[in-house]
């Protein structure tokens, strides 16, 4: 497993777990379990932060060659997947308020910058998943 795979695993696992905790926190808040939802929000933040930290601290690969044409192609495809995911995210986020609040509904414009954060997460997740899918299983073959 190379550096990119390790980083992708760290991001996918932490973001998935943080996402589950965040949804659980929202449900808890909806049900009136304020203290539990607060704990879950904090836990989601800690999990996500840990994932990002691990991702940043993955050591560079050892050996004479650490990256080649296949790695570059995988990286390029991953960026493409990330771009596609962001594009889809923005489209969905643009129409979701109409679907949720209706034609005459409204929401604070201060929510809009959250779209950027959401798009960032969306891109990181899509890129990581695309990286892992392209590398696939293997690497434990004979020497």
């Amino acid at each position: 497993m190379n550096r990119e795979q390790k980083r992708a695993w760290a991001l996918v696992s932490s973001m998935s777990l943080a996402g589950v905790l965040y949804v659980a926190a929202l449900v808890g808040r909806h049900l009136g379990l304020v203290s539990l939802s607060t704990v879950l929000f904090v836990a989601a933040g800690v999990v996500l932060g840990t994932g990002v930290l691990v991702c940043l601290r993955v050591k560079p690969d050892q050996g004479a060659v650490t990256s080649d044409e296949r790695d570059k192609q995988i990286e390029k495809n991953a960026y493409l997947a990330g771009f596609g995911a962001v594009y889809l995210f923005v489209i969905i986020a643009s129409f979701a308020p109409i679907a949720i609040f209706g034609e005459k509904g409204s929401f604070p414009v201060t929510w809009c910058p959250a779209l950027l954060i959401g798009a960032g997460f969306c891109q990181a997740y899509a890129m990581s998943v695309a990286t892992l899918i392209q590398y696939g299983r293997g690497g434990k073959d004979e020497q």
Binding site: D71, G139, Q143
Partner: protein, 76 residues
């Protein structure tokens, strides 16, 4: 649908060349071992320059290492 496939004899050639390891071949042609594994398994088609480098590592021609198959048929 495109069913083209490039098969190869890298594994056979490695064993014929003093049981060369995947890592040794990778170092020789300037790629990672993962890439050699992917090429051997037919999961990745190498670029033309890399195909030539692999062939040179075995002192043979590209045709001796790689075989182009179209729709499951062996081609030339």
């Amino acid at each position: 649908m495109n069913n083209d496939h490039i098969s190869n004899r890298i594994r056979r050639l490695r064993f014929d060349h003093h049981e060369m390891t995947q890592q040794q071949l990778a170092n020789k042609v300037g790629v990672t071992r993962q890439t050699i594994i992917a090429i051997e398994a037919g999961k990745y088609a190498p670029s033309l320059p890399l195909a030539f480098r692999i062939a040179r590592a075995f002192n043979t021609s590209v045709e001796e290492v790689f075989e182009y198959q179209e729709n499951g048929q062996i081609g030339t």
